[in-house]
Amino acid sequence: MNTLQLTLGPVLFYWSRDDILRFYSEAADWPLETIYLGEAVCSRRQQLRGQDWIALGKELAESGRQVVLSSLALIESESDLRRLRKLVENGDLQLEANDLGAARLAQQQGRPFVAGHHLNIYNADTLALLQSLGARRWIPPVEMDRDTLAAVLQQVSSKGLNIETELFAWGRLPLALSARCFTARHYNLSKDDCQFRCLEHPDGLRLNTREQQAFLTINGIQTMSDGCHSLLPHLADIAAMGVKAVRISPQWQHTEHVVAGYQQAIQALNSPLRPDIDLAPYADSRLVDGYWRGEAGIAAIGEAHAHS
């Protein structure tokens, strides 16, 4: 059995430059195989610019981690494309392509890349196609359930596809992207004059139903789950399926405890011991795993099937 690796996804929230640098100086010491970094959500977020991310990435790479630059997921303007080209052409660090345009640029440069979950790979044919363009690793869509993934991975191995699988395994789920900024909207500001209010919400803004059920998270142009997706209870199954790595999505506090908990759980996979690891104290919302079980993504861990 291969040992599952741990990765750190890009920070999906808008943090100040100092906070970002502090976060990564700490993360450099965590037991991570790969660190993804860069602005994947909103082109107006430029506390660090492309060159800064590249410089930070190179610095982190010296600590022995693999470093991958995550591309913006919604590429609309020529300036978005210019920034993307700079990322692809940096020469040293690989790219996580979160858009087909990014995949094309990486392919043109002959550079291997990671196919991000926004590329919507739901079957082995599509995966094989991305692999032929240069994808060396892929992240399945966050909504993909265990059985669908198992079926795809079975075909990956029967086709002899040489590609690694990495799962989004912890954090608020990135669910939707829009041209509209919901944080700006909340403050009655236009998107082009958003005053960067996302900086005030390092874990996003909680959206409740009218009966106070915590439901979603507003993060600028991105809508996320309120529930914290956790695949911790399923790691043995995940490892057995041939998944290579699981991704922790950064949060404002306690990311280091989450990484440590996952690391402990992964080490225990090869021993008869089953440590009781409780990460609930490190999430500031309910733990959910419905997607993995083929349910609504909002279904909490251990929650029985909700019937329509």
């Binding site: 919604l74 590429i75 909504e143 139903t209 809508t223 997607y291």
Partner: protein, 338 residues
């Protein structure tokens, strides 16, 4: 401005055979339809086409020299994707004028099996920039791409100027505020999304709760909105409900509005848009007839006299009766969009 810009095709929805005929009879250049299964992103009970109705619809459209597009715009799921392959085979066999695909793996299949078949890139492919579109052109020779409803008019022009692929944009109908193909809100709440099941906020999960004070609209138990007596109640599409953020209760994501680009038709023609798409395969034949007729008139008027074009009150009236939530917006085409 070149006076010889061809008019964009008017592409209208056909959720049923009567709707298809209504579109053709009222001036649609092209209709688009889906099959009765989860290979299409408007997979609602009682809608869509089987082999017999598809053949009849295609015969009718072709008889009137109009085109028919088949939408296979969900993502092929998991280990057995023969259903999607069969849908493509069926489209080729029916003799549709093009197939609209979202999944690039399916584009590859279609190109390999049917070299002559015209392929369109679905809005569900989330191709918002010309690099993404040109990738699909190089690999599969796609002939047209439908842009997600998130770009400004200038950004649409930028795409058109950098690709050989025809560009289709949405012109009228229910507004998705999210990038199509990149929205999983529906599966987060219900387990079924447009990408996987071809549905958003599926009706089987909807419950109406009649309370003494208010009418509650729930989706899989989640309260999407509630309406006081006398307030018009809308279908609980989950991005169109009222929610509470930091103590404010409001349409936190989107009001129930309809997109209507009528006022922009001269600019849309001018930048070289190849086709304008009307949303609404789940709508009635009467709706399709009315929208098609109105947009046909407006489009022809904008083509004849772009400089003097103005929206006629009669058109606005006709469309506002059909608009969701009775409001209309230019959406993302217009920059200061909140």
């Amino acid at each position: 401005m070149p006076a010889t810009r061809p008019l964009p095709e008017l592409v209208c929805p056909a959720g049923s055979l009567p709707a298809l005929k209504a579109a053709v009879d009222n001036g649609a250049d092209t209709v688009y339809l889906g099959l009765k299964n989860d290979t299409n992103a408007r997979n609602f009970a009682g809608l869509n086409f089987d082999d017999r109705t598809a053949r009849e619809g295609i015969r009718y459209a072709h008889q009137h020299e109009r085109k028919v597009l088949l939408a296979i715009n969900t993502y092929a799921q998991g280990g057995d994707i023969s259903r999607w392959h069969r849908a493509i085979d069926e489209g080729a066999d029916l003799g549709v004028d093009a197939i609209i695909l979202a999944d690039i793996g399916l584009m590859e299949y279609a190109r390999r099996r049917y070299p002559q078949l015209r392929l369109h890139m679905s809005v569900q492919s989330s191709a918002t920039n010309y690099e993404a579109i040109n990738l699909a052109q190089e690999l599969f020779d796609i002939r047209r791409a439908v842009l997600p409803r998130v770009l400004t008019l200038d950004q649409v022009k930028q795409v058109i100027d950098h690709t050989q692929v025809e560009i289709e944009v949405f012109g009228f109908g229910s507004l998705c505020v999210m990038v199509e193909g990149r929205c999983l809100l529906s599966s987060y709440a219900t387990g079924e999304s447009p990408n996987s099941h071809g549905v958003c906020s599926p009706a089987k999960f909807v419950r109406w709760e009649h309370g003494s004070q208010a009418l509650g609209a729930r989706l899989n138990g989640i309260l999407i909105d509630e309406y006081q007596q006398g307030e018009p109640a809308g279908y609980p599409t989950l991005c169109k409900g009222r929610f509470e953020v930091e103590g404010d209760t409001y349409y936190a994501l989107e009001e129930p509005t309809s997109l209507n680009v009528m006022a922009m038709l001269p600019q849309i023609i001018d930048i070289g848009v190849a086709a304008i798409k009307v949303e609404g395969r789940q709508r009635s034949p009467a709706y399709v007839a009315q929208v098609t007729r109105t947009l046909r008139e407006a489009l022809d008027a904008a083509g004849r006299e772009p400089q003097r074009f103005s929206v006629k009150p009669g058109w606005t009236q006709a469309l506002s009766k059909l608009a969701e939530g009775q409001q209309q917006t230019l959406g993302a085409y217009n920059r200061p969009w909140k």
